[in-house]
């Protein structure tokens, strides 16, 4: 079948519901960027839909997820908003208004005052709530470690969540607490929570604390890829997935879209350094070209499409730039990934309290790694090849050619 045939078939495929095989096939046949462009014709149709309002709130975070959102390429943020008829109704970093109080009373209108704007959009209901950042629950359940406009973020988020159609948690802080929930002497005092999970614990998601049931989609990652965020929003707006009916089929147990976080695919599968792993050639100090397994790479058990999709203009991923994957999409991040630079076989997977699902996944990956280990022992004595540097140069040159 020629490329046109694929294009034609893809028009009728729903990428959020694709399994990995179909996804890889499509990506392999067309390249990631053309694959995504095949949805443009449908995106145009979205104008016929009524406006979808996005309310984007920030808790305990670094704004890296919003920064990543601005890095979106296919589509970029402004295109996505326009083509999908979405309105970014509230966003503290990107919108004009700010909170204005005169003698303690909210002043001006929602065109200048973000506090009034927030009240108005919450009142309208039915929006998609995007949560960036963890929710501080401390000290002692009061939420007072974050107070905005005189209200705790814990209360602000509750109100926003109550009136939302559903919630998209973006980034590791919102999905699982992230770095805020890393082990430390003040972790319990601070008591940061994710939306539906805190680390691996679903009982500790802030929604359970509220006693609130809302559909949640988790877009993990520190930060998440812009495509993961924008394409998920696009899929919902385009009716490609119905919330909540389709969620059990398109999300994994951690509420992540399987198409971006495939249960049967790990980053290692498509790593550009994979050939060295198979040959049993490993870097033990940084800045070399070989497999990073002995420098602590977590790609063999990390479920994300980084190696297929690649980052920032579809260029690269962490191991390509010589740094081990730190599994920033895993629920226990960062504790489940630390120490970053020590081989898993030496230190085991430390600091985790991984639930059964994750355990099985990691067990499987380690088994697979074990199988490879046998192979690499068999080839261990082969002489090293010296022309990697040139090869890498050639690769980059070809890649550059494609981009232009």
């Amino acid at each position: 079948m020629g490329e046109d045939g694929y294009l034609d078939r893809l028009k009728h495929l729903d990428f959020m519901k694709m399994n990995r095989r179909a996804f890889l096939k499509a990506v392999g046949a067309l390249g990631a960027s053309l694959f995504l462009q095949t949805y443009r014709s449908e995106i145009v149709r979205a104008l016929e839909f009524s406006e979808t309002r996005i309310v984007w709130v920030h808790g305990g975070e670094c704004t890296g997820c919003s920064e990543s959102l601005l890095n979106g390429g296919e589509p970029d943020l402004l295109q996505a908003l326009k083509r999908l008829n979405m309105r970014l109704a509230y966003h503290e970093v990107l919108l004009g208004p700010q909170g204005i109080y005169v003698d303690g009373k909210m002043a001006n209108t929602s065109e200048l005052n973000s506090e009034i704007l927030f009240e108005e959009v919450i009142e309208e209901k039915g929006y998609i709530l995007v949560a960036e950042g963890a929710i501080p629950n401390g000290p002692r359940g009061t939420g007072k470690y974050c107070i905005l406009g005189g209200k705790t973020y814990k209360d602000i988020f509750r109100r926003a969540a109550e009136n939302a159609a559903f919630i998209v948690a973006v980034g590791q802080c919102a999905t699982n607490g992230g770095v805020n929930s890393a082990d430390s002497e003040i972790r319990d005092l601070m008591d940061f929570r994710g939306v539906a999970f805190t680390m691996e614990d679903r009982e500790k998601g802030i929604l359970r604390e509220y006693g609130l049931e809302k559909p949640v989609i988790n877009i993990n990652g520190c930060p998440p890829h812009a495509d993961w965020m924008l394409l998920t929003l696009a899929a919902v707006v385009l009716g490609k997935i119905k919330v909540p009916d389709d969620l059990p089929y398109v999300l994994d147990e951690l509420l992540r879209p399987k198409v971006f976080f495939p249960p049967d695919h790990v980053i290692h599968d498509n790593c550009p350094r994979r050939g060295y792993y198979d040959k049993g050639e490993f870097d033990t100090v940084v800045s070399g070209p070989k497999c990073l397994w002995k420098l602590g790479c977590k790609a063999p058990y990390t479920h994300a499409d980084c190696a297929i999709r690649r980052w920032n203009g579809y260029h690269s991923l962490c191991p390509q730039s010589g740094s081990p994957c730190i599994a920033c999409v895993s629920p226990g991040f960062p504790d489940s990934s630390r120490p970053f630079f020590q081989e898993i076989e030496d230190v085991g997977i430390v600091g985790t309290n991984i639930d059964t699902v994750a355990k099985v996944a990691i067990g499987g990956a380690l088994l697979a790694a074990g199988a490879h280990a046998v192979r690499r022992i068999a080839v261990k004595d082969k002489p090293e090849r010296k022309e990697e540097k040139e090869e890498k140069g050639k690769e980059s040159a070809e890649k550059g050619g494609e981009d232009e």
């Binding site: 890095n71 004009g96 208004p97 000290p139 740094s323 970053f340």
Partner: protein
């Protein structure tokens, strides 16, 4: 007296509140700067492998992650005892990484975070009084700087051209970073002893291509002249007067042409910097060029008492000509933008990191002492919910930000301080001119212009690092292993886009972290009052300003305090960076905890 509070001040990183007391003339008599949230960052680095810090500390800030990774890598170099051996190529790569992030961060701030205030409806009302010329200028401001989902009088305004183009350029700069550092934000690359990736010749070619695309944007949107022309006549001008003369002459030509045509478009040569310089400053716009109106941003944001403020930089960008290795104390001659401290009267002295102390007298922490040097710091967040109250006035504790000072003096950090310490002719020339003419010096106008100028200064160096200094076949790291970090200490002095950044780390006999600390730019700029009751830099800069547009030219409007927006945002606040907790070893924990 009217209390005007901005809560939150949006379009910054993090959660921030400003409370001011404003008199009947619309003048701020008292200001409080309040960081609203605690994350508790450094604590979770303790007892861990120190090498993780170069990746993990980036998560402090998604806007300037690169600077944190570099400050951390510098601290780790010293911790492992390899600071003398880091290959020149690795230092050049760190420079390139930092430069690309700095330009992206500044562009985002100028266009997306700060520029939006130039499209505030108060300027429509002001410029509306000046006929077709006023209307033409307002159309430019709105057409360039309107943000996403902007509405005026119920009408949806399309996203501004400058705003939209700047987002695309920021994306391009992040793509350039990903060529060698995998992704942005939270890239990789920085590592103890060097960098994790040596770029290929092809990477360098691609990076240069990205560079020229960004420079096209700078020429056509930002400056209206080729960047080389600008740099040659400002940064490398033979005197401060010549640099100012170049800018003013260029503006005069534009004004002469446009006051007739009422064409202030990009096509007519009105880049964003010329438009901002002509209409942002009363001195340049109204007095020198004879324009009928301006935003008068040079009338706000100064410091009334030179004995209570200083300007500080730790120095940034390694000098490639010095070869392998570097001095972690950052002597001024070792960095392209040098370290230095200027007192309130701009007298320069040599930077000495041991002069830094932090006060928590007005911050929500519990400690037996209110002032400590960073290396003795031990901080415990207030555990008592009722004690966290932002409404108790200036005598109380009111922020999660601490108050650092240098030799007892609160300091402004950031591009303005760097350009002053570096003696950039344009910024120095304008400082002198403002001072001479009785304007506050520095001021909000100049603080922003310094940021724009720094983009050009750094871009000129970046091209040299990329095309001259980098050797793709050279060495990019020295080998290290964990045992080299036993019972050791390291200090990483660097600059984030928004100002001085230092990381400190110490380890035990197992090479595990016992102390990790970051003292960051917004802690300096957004500090609350210190132990002696001296207000922090933003608090000082807000005191005495007229709160409404153009120095209350249209009267006092408490409900649209533009003077506060402009001035506070001109520091490019980053609260995620500013608020952090420090702990030495955890040993003092029981002693200071008062639950």
């Amino acid at each position: 007296m009217v209390e005007v509070t901005v809560d939150q001040l949006t379009r910054i990183e993090g959660h921030y509140r400003i409370t001011t007391q404003v008199n009947e003339e619309g003048v701020v008599t008292e200001a409080q700067s309040m960081g609203l949230m605690l994350r508790g960052f450094e604590r979770f680095l303790q007892k861990q492998d120190p090498r993780d810090a170069a990746l993990l500390t980036q998560r402090i800030c998604g806007v300037c992650p690169t600077s944190h990774s570099l400050a951390a890598a510098n601290a780790l170099d010293q911790l492992f005892g390899v600071e003398d051996a880091v290959p020149k190529n690795a230092l050049v790569m760190r420079n390139i990484h930092q430069a690309l992030n700095l330009i992206a961060s500044h562009a985002t701030h100028v266009y997306v975070l700060w520029g939006t205030d130039l499209a505030n409806p108060a300027y429509r009302d002001l410029l509306g009084n000046y006929g077709d010329t006023g209307k033409a200028v307002w159309d430019e401001l709105l057409g360039r700087f309107a943000p996403i989902s902007y509405r005026l009088d119920g009408v949806d305004i399309p996203v501004g051209r400058g705003y939209a183009a700047a987002i695309a350029e920021k994306r391009r700069l992040h793509e350039a970073i990903s060529l060698f550092a995998a992704k942005m934000p939270h890239s990789v690359l920085s590592h103890v002893g060097g960098v994790t990736y040596g770029p290929t010749a092809a990477d360098i070619g691609q990076l240069a291509s990205y560079y020229w695309k960004v420079m096209d944007f700078v020429e056509h949107f930002t400056l209206g002249v080729p960047p080389e022309t600008w740099v040659e006549n400002t940064r490398f001008a033979s005197s401060p007067q010549k640099a100012v003369g170049f800018v003013v002459d260029r503006l005069q030509e534009l004004v002469d042409a446009s006051l007739v045509s009422n064409d202030f478009s990009y096509a007519a040569g009105w880049g964003d910097v010329p438009l901002y310089t002509a209409f942002g400053s009363e001195l340049i716009g109204e007095e020198v060029l004879g324009l009928p109106a301006s935003m008068r941003l040079d009338r706000i944001g100064g410091y009334s008492d030179p004995s209570k403020i200083g300007f500080l930089t730790y120095g940034v960008f390694f000098k490639p000509e010095l070869g392998d290795g570097y001095d972690p104390t950052s002597p001024p001659e070792s960095r392209v933008i040098p370290s230095g401290f200027l007192n309130g009267n701009l007298k320069l002295s040599r930077f000495d990191h041991s002069k830094i102390t932090e006060s928590i007298a007005h911050s929500f922490y519990v400690d037996s002492e209110s002032d400590r040097t960073p290396l003795e710091g031990t901080t415990q967040p207030e555990p008592e919910p009722d004690e966290i109250d932002y409404s108790r006035g200036i005598e109380s504790r009111y922020s999660w930000v601490k108050a650092p000072h240098y030799g007892g003096i609160p300091c402004e950090v950031g591009p303005l301080s760097r350009m002053l310490v570096m003696k950039d002719p344009l910024i120095m020339g304008l400082m002198d001119l403002f001072r001479e003419k009785g304007y506050p010096a520095p001021n909000t106008f100049l603080r922003m212009l310094a940021r724009m100028q720094e983009i050009l200064v750094v871009a000129a160096e970046l091209l040299k690092w990329l095309t001259v200094d980098l050797d793709p076949s050279g060495k990019f790291a020295v080998p290290t292993d964990l045992s080299m970090a036993k019972d050791s200490q390291g200090m990483g002095l660097w600059e984030a886009p928004r100002g001085a950044l230092g990381h400190w780390v110490a380890t035990d006999s197992d090479s595990k972290v016992t102390l990790y600390q970051a003292v960051v730019p917004s802690t300096w700029n957004l500090a609350p009052r210190n132990t002696a009751g001296v207000p922090g830099p933003v608090e000082q800069a807000l005191t005495g300003i007229k709160i409404s547009a153009a120095g209350n030219a249209l009267g006092v409007d408490y409900t649209n305090p533009l003077g506060i927006f402009h001035t506070a945002r001109s520091y490019d606040p980053c609260l995620a960076c500013a608020i952090h907790t420090i702990d030495l070893t955890g040993k003092r924990k029981e002693q200071v905890r008062v639950i």
